[in-house]
Structure formats: C-alpha cells, structure tokens
C-alpha cells in the first residue's frame, strides 16, 4: 500500500485526538466521582441508578413517617400514663371516701381534690404534640375537651370527631397513629352500648363525696378499676405499635445501607482504577505525540541536494 504524507498526518491527528478523548473521559470521571453522567454513558446503569434513587427517596420518606408516628404514639402513651395516674389517685380517694368513719369535713376535702383531678384529666386529654391535639380525632387544631356547665349539671364535652390519622409506613401499609378521644375518655366505663365517660365517673365520685354518701362513693371503685383497665389496654396497643415501628425502622436502616452500597457500586468510580486508566491514557497520548514528531520529519526532500 502506498503511503502518502497526508495519510501520515491524518493518522497522527486521528490518534492524538482519540487519546485526548480518552483522557478527557477519565478526567471527567475523576472530577465528578461518577462513572455515568448521562443516560447514554451506560443506559442500563442509569436506569438502575434512577430506580435506586427513587427507592431510597421512598425509604427515607417511610423512615420519616415511622419516626413521626412513633413520636405521636409515644406522646399519646405518656399522656395516657398520666391519665391512668390521675384515675388511680381518684380511685384511692374513692377508697378513702367509701370508709364510713370518714368525717364529713374530710369528705369535702376529698371532693375538692377530685375537682382538681377533673381539671387535670381534662388537661391531659387535651395534650398537644407539636401543636396538634392528640385526642381530637381529625380536629387537631382546637382543644377537644371542654369542662362546661349545662344548666346546673356539670359536664365535659367532646368537640373532636371520630376520625383517624392513618400514615403510610411502608408501601400500601398504613398505621393509625391516633387514639380517638371519644373512645379513650368518653366511652370508658359501663356495659357495652351505654358506656359513660371517665369525666362522668369523676363527677359522680365528686357528687357522692359532696353528698357525704359513703356507699355511693364505694360504688364508683369498680368503675374506676374498669376505667384504669381500659386505659391500660389502650396503652398496651400504643406501646406495641411503637415497638413494631422501631423494629421496622431498624430493618429499613439495614436495607437502606444495602441500597446505598449497591448504588455506589453502580454509580461511583473506583478512583484507583480511574487514575490508572488516566495515567495510561496520558502515556499513550505522549507516545503518540513523540511518534508524530519522529514520523513527520524525515522526507526524501531532506536528503536530495
């Protein structure tokens, strides 16, 4: 094959340009730290990276949802813990008051304390978490319980609703984070179908104490036991939910590490390998330049005189 001067020059140019391109690619990878910077670099890797990114974003969101749900559940649980303590104190007072030897003045003092306990329980039932009322159903912006007089009768009314707050903690899995105030406090005591509120129970105790009626006071004790059991059951449910979420979060954490690692393997460069590749490309480039300098110079013109 004949070799012409233009062929030599164009070969040299093509090779130098190719080597520069290799260097440029390695430089881009080294400076960005990523193997792929656009879909055409490696369509399959990019598609997988996008999937992983979406999955990671989802898991982050579920992780946040679970953390928030646990916060809400734990806050509810601790509020119910306080409510239980209040009811236990009221039960103690009922036990004292049921004793027939208790003088009337002492009965009035017990009644005064029960009155305080009612306020305390209303306050507990109106516990808010992050500015939101825990026990108002979906009415989270205004206090659900209100102590009022209706005519001569004293009551605590419930202004919330029976709505539930359902949050997604895994794909398609929702968890109800709120315990409804109506169920917790308003339908706590008594036979199925005609349940009464814990507040009504306290008012009954107070009225019995004020009326110095030892046997009526004694009658409330069984109801207090039932109310306390009722709260304990709900607390147990809340605790179980919180623990379930804690375990799910731990599982998610492990899964996230796995996802992140796999994505990094797909997406990130092996620096040592890329540097080697770059140095190799640089060497080849320099060799191409040196070769060009040698090949392009000699010609018969130089030797003819």
């Amino acid at each position: 094959m004949r070799v012409t001067n233009r062929m030599l020059i164009s070969n040299v140019l093509t090779n130098i340009n190719n080597n520069l391109q290799h260097m440029s690619k390695a430089q881009k990878q080294m400076s960005s730290g990523k193997r792929v910077s656009r879909p055409s670099d490696d369509p399959i890797v990019v598609a997988r990276v996008l999937s992983f990114k979406t999955a990671l974003a989802q898991q982050d969101q579920y992780d946040k949802n679970m953390a928030d749900a646990r916060g809400w559940l734990d806050a509810s649980e601790s509020a119910l813990n306080m409510a239980t303590a209040t009811l236990q104190r009221a039960r103690e007072l009922a036990v004292y008051g049921a004793n027939g030897t208790m003088p009337e003045a002492s009965m009035q003092a017990l009644a005064a304390e029960v009155d305080q306990l009612i306020d305390e329980l209303v306050q507990t039932a109106n516990t808010s978490y992050g500015g939101r009322f825990l026990f108002g159903g979906t009415v989270t912006t205004s206090a659900p319980f209100q102590r009022t007089f209706e005519g001569t009768e004293e009551t605590v009314s419930y202004n919330g609703n029976t709505g539930s707050l359902d949050w997604e903690v895994a794909q398609g899995v929702t968890i109800t984070v709120n315990e409804n105030g109506n169920k917790v406090f308003m339908e706590a005591v008594g036979p199925e179908g005609s349940k009464k509120s814990v507040f009504k129970l306290l008012f009954e105790l107070k009225d019995a104490l004020v009326g110095n009626d030892h046997s009526a006071v004694g009658d409330t004790i069984a109801d207090f036991d039932q109310a306390i059991d009722h709260l304990l059951n709900i607390r147990a449910t809340l605790g179980a939910k919180s623990r379930r979420l804690e375990m799910a979060q731990e599982r998610l954490f492990v899964a996230k590490i796995g996802l992140t690692e796999t994505m990094s393997k797909l997406e990130d460069i092996d620096l040592a390998e890329t540097v080697m590749y770059y140095k190799n490309a640089e060497n080849v480039y320099q060799a191409a330049l040196a070769t060009a300098a040698m090949v392009l110079q000699p010609s018969l013109v130089h030797y003819l005189r």
Binding site: T4, R38, P39, T138, T141, G163, S299
Partner: protein, 572 residues
C-alpha cells in the same frame, strides 16, 4: 539507409519536451500535496510512430524501423471510482448518525439525568411532599411545601417541553440550511459541468476541474444520498430518489427556498424524509419533492421525529399525572370545607400537557385550599348528610342551632364562649331526606342534605377535620399505582423513558464511532491511491530531470556530429 542528417535532432527535442512536461506535472503534484480532493496526475508517455511506417511501398527497403522519439499521450488522474462511491455511501451514513447523535446529546442535557435536579428527583420530592401533608394536614408550612414542590415539578415539565420545542426549531433551521447547501453545491456542480464540457469538446482532459467536481460530490454525499450518471460530453447528472437535481449544465432545483414540509415515513422499515420545496415565490408554481434515504438530512428528519416522540411521552406523563392527581384532589376537601377543585390546570387553557401544566392559582395563593381531607365538614347524623362547606375557617367553631323547623348557623372565634349567627335562619318544611339546605351567608356556608326526621331543638356541633390528611395520602399513594394511560407507574414510565433515550443516544454514539472508522479506512485507501507521496515525486523528479539532461546530451552529441560534418570537413 539512414533517416536523414537532421533526423535525431527532432527525436531529442521530443525527449526534452516530454520530460519538461513530466517535470511540470511533478511540480503540480508537489504543489497540490496538501490540496483537499486533489488527485495525483501522471504523464503517460508513448513512443511516437516509428519510421518508416509499415507499408507496401516504403523507402530504403526492408528490415529496419527507427524510433522517432516520445510523446505525451495523456496526463492521467490516478483514481479508483469504485472507492469514490463507497466513500460517499459511508460518508452519508456517518452524516446521518452524526446529526442524530448531536441532537440526542442536547436532549440528554435537557433531561439532566441522573442528577439531583432532574424530573426523577422532582417526582420523588412531589410524592414525599404529599406524604408529609398526609401527616400534617393542618400545617400551613407543609401545605406551602406541597405547592412549592408541585410548582417546581410543573416548571420542570414546562422547561423540558420548551427546550424540546427549541431543539425541534433548531432542527428545522438546520434542515433549511442543509437544503440551501444542497442547492449551492448543485449550482457549483452545474457550473463545473459547463467548463468540463468545453474542455472535453476541445479534446483535453480537465483533471483539476474533475477533482473539484468530485470534491463537491463528496460534500453532497454527506448531506443526502444520490446517484451519478455520466454523460458522453463529460458532464454528470445527479439524481436523488428518482428526482433530478442536476442535468448536465442545468440545475433542476429551484434557486430559492420558501418553505419546507417535513415528513418522516417510518411505516416502512426504511426511513425516508420528503422535503417539499415551494418555488412559488420565485416565479415558479410547482413544489419540488426530494425523497431522501440517507445523509445528514435524513438524520435530521429522524432526530426531529425522535424529539417529537420524547415531547409526546413527556406530554403523556404530565397529562396522566395531572389527571390522576386532579381526580383524587377533586374528591377531597380543603381546610375551608370546599371540594371539587382541580390541583393542576393548563396555563392558557386547553388540554394539560408538559408545556402548560401548572398548579391552580387559587391554591398557590391559598394553600389551605389543598384538598388533603376526604371528609370535609362533618355534621351530626340527626341533621343530615353529605355536607359541603365553603369559606369555613378551621380555627373557628361552628354549630347549627335547631329551633322547631328553623336551622341557623353560628360561629365562635374565641373557642366557644361567644357565638354569632351567620346569615339568617332557614325554615325546613318537610324532612324527607332528599332536600338540600344551605345555611350561612355567601362567604361562610354549609350545604347538606337534611335527614328524613326532624331533629330535636338544641345546638349541634359542626366539625371540620383540619388534621385529616387521608386524601393527601391517596394522592401520595399514586406513586405506586399502575396508571392505565401509561401502563406502568409514573416513576417507572419516566425511568423507562430515560433508559430509552439513553439507549438511542448510546447507539447513535456507537454508530458514529464505527462509521467514522469505516470512512477513515476507505478515505485512507483512496488517499493511498490518489494522494501525493512526496518521496515518490522526488524520485520521479530525479528520473525526469536526468531524462531531460540525457536528451539534451543527445542534442549536444548530434550538434558535435554536425560540427564535425560541416566545419571540420572543409579543405585547408
């Protein structure tokens, strides 16, 4: 017996002249060693007719013939025309893929994946914002976040759509320029045809003109595919898909280009592009159709079609997203108790697409209207059902006062201590369970279907559900739903779209590299045949120089011989 006294002088003269001509050609080759498209030329030397010529009747008897020297038969271009057609075909394919690659590189920049600012990330953020709203439905900052995220997503759609339209516009411009370039090349070729025809008519070889014409054909071959017909007068015709662009010295193409219509026919597996050039503005009245099956023009047409497809995919994604979100959003209630409101709307009307998708202004101004709630206003069962409110404030308490058959809406802004009436009382005549009543005034009102039995006198608490995010959750859960119009989930649809773009762009890049290698190889072979090798020319130069010197020496010898004959033979 000899050929005469002065016979050899003429032979020597021919030798001088021919070698001078050969040296001249070598000089021309060396001078054009770097000229693009130049074909090396070689002087073809032939001995002139011997003396005497064979004949029945010739002088001096038989048994001898004296050569009369040398002449130039032709100055030949050293070229392989088969290689030309190969180079041109492959150059056309290269041009086609280069254009596709170039356009797809731009499209890849538009979508900017994988990155933290691409649509993929924005979609994830969009779903996450609805999840947050599902948890914090009463929160104004969270509602703001939903709006901001949705606006960012809509703007990303708008931006991408606009960019794709820009790319389409650029392609149209590029096609127009390429068509003009074709016209210009055709005019130049026709001009060269005229010159070549004149030279050929005079019996000469227009080597350099042929080189220039071949070079123009090479350039033309990158833009479109064509066939060449050679005429006996040295001119050529150029045909594209059965349409003549050049017929000898005539350019068949209209001189100016007023409009282009672009059709890519991909029904047949063979892609083809039909460009219609309207010549009406130039005095002509017919349109001129060229069907192209290769080259940059076809590549541009195919790229246009691809970009159009990406735009359609993007439109489908935006339309389905808006449709699905709107459908659920309309079923929900804002914090004011209102319902039946779209979330996404088309800016400027029409159907929603990637170019016009935007978040409803009303929601941007008041994020409290986002329908996160699936229940809205709740009224006690005794009063009725299906309550819808409008303009209600979640921070305010509402109740309905029943007195006989009269219903009245009241509100309290201080937590239930002081109550004021909204609007006037409404009297219900028949409680049949189908009639709807509206309580309140124009700015704050509740509409509901009354129950079938009249409720007792008293106050009935109306509750809003500011903390209910169940409708927001339904929207967030769209992320995992298979959308009928897409056949998959939103995320997967976009991921597949990106993968498809990646594969096509990757394929185009690979084709360009391979095709470039093929063209380089063929061009190398052509250069190997037609290119000027300086060493070779130097060698020939010495040969012709020595040939010239030798011929001159013959002339000197003859001169000395005649000197002997004429001057030394005189009597002393």
């Amino acid at each position: 017996m000899s050929g005469g006294t002065f016979f050899g002088i003429n032979t020597a003269l021919r030798g001088l002249m021919v070698h001078q001509r050969a040296l001249q050609t070598t000089s021309h080759n060396v001078a054009n060693a770097s000229t693009e498209g130049y074909t090396r030329q070689r002087v073809v030397m032939v001995p002139t007719l011997a003396y005497p010529v064979p004949a029945m009747n010739r002088p001096g008897g038989q048994g001898w013939q004296v050569g009369t020297g040398v002449d130039v038969q032709e100055i030949r271009r050293i070229r392989d025309e088969f290689l030309d057609s190969q180079v041109r075909r492959e150059t056309g394919t290269l041009g086609r893929w280069e254009q596709i690659k170039y356009v797809l590189e731009q499209v890849e920049i538009v979508f900017n994946e994988p990155s933290d600012t691409g649509l993929s990330t924005l979609l994830s953020q969009f779903w996450a914002s609805w999840q947050e709203l599902a948890k914090n439905a009463e929160s104004s900052p969270v509602r703001m976040t939903v709006i901001e995220t949705a606006v960012a997503l809509a703007e990303a759609f708008n931006h991408s759509a606009r960019q794709l339209e820009n790319i389409k516009g650029d392609i149209e411009d590029a096609i127009e320029l390429k068509v003009e370039e074709v016209a210009s090349l055709c005019r130049q070729i026709a001009d060269l045809n005229v010159q070549i025809k004149n030279v050929v008519a005079a019996g000469d070889r227009p080597n350099d003109l042929l080189d220039r014409r071949d070079l123009l054909l090479d350039r033309l071959s990158k833009i479109l595919d064509f066939t060449v017909e050679h005429n006996s007068d040295g001119t050529i015709n150029i045909k594209v898909g059965g349409t003549s662009l050049v017929e000898g010295d005539r350019v068949e193409l209209p001189a100016s280009w007023n409009s282009l219509t672009l059709q890519v026919d991909d029904a047949t597996h063979q892609a083809k592009l039909t460009i219609t050039v309207d010549d009406t503005g130039n005095g002509g009245s017919t349109s001129f159709e060229i069907t192209i099956k290769g080259g940059e023009l076809l590549g541009l047409g195919e790229a246009y079609k691809l970009v159009e497809g990406y735009r359609k995919d993007l439109d489908t994604l935006a339309k389905e997203l808006a449709g699905a979100v709107n459908q659920i959003h309309k079923e929900g209630y804002g914090l004011d108790g209102s319902s039946q409101r779209d979330f996404f709307v088309p800016a400027g009307g029409g159907n929603i697409n990637a170019g016009n998708i935007s978040v409803k202004d009303e929601l941007q101004e008041n994020p409290m209207l986002i329908a996160a709630d699936s229940n809205g206003v709740r009224i006690p069962e005794e009063l009725g059902s299906d309550a819808v409110g409008e303009g209600l404030d979640p921070g305010t308490k509402y109740k309905i006062l029943v007195s006989g058959n009269t219903l009245e809406l009241q509100k309290s802004t201080d937590g239930g201590t002081k109550w004021t009436s909204i609007g006037s009382g409404v009297t219900v005549n028949t409680w049949d369970g189908t009639t709807t009543v509206t309580l309140g005034d124009n700015s704050e009102r509740i509409t509901f279907t009354i129950s079938s039995s009249s409720p007792g006198d008293g106050e009935y608490t109306v509750t809003l559900s500011p903390g209910d995010g169940s409708n927001a959750l339904k929207i967030a859960q769209l992320q995992h739903q298979i959308i009928q119009g897409l056949g998959t989930t939103f995320d997967d649809y976009y991921k597949n779209f990106t993968a498809r773009l990646g594969v096509t762009a990757h394929e185009a890049g690979r084709m360009v590299v391979n095709q470039q290698a093929l063209v380089d190889q063929l061009a190398g072979r052509r250069e190997s045949i037609s290119g000027v090798a300086l060493d070779e020319e130097m060698t020939y130069m010495i040969q012709f120089q020595r040939g010239y010197e030798a011929a001159a020496r013959v002339m000197t010898v003859l001169d000395e011989m005649l000197d002997t004959l004429i001057n030394r033979m005189a009597a002393h």
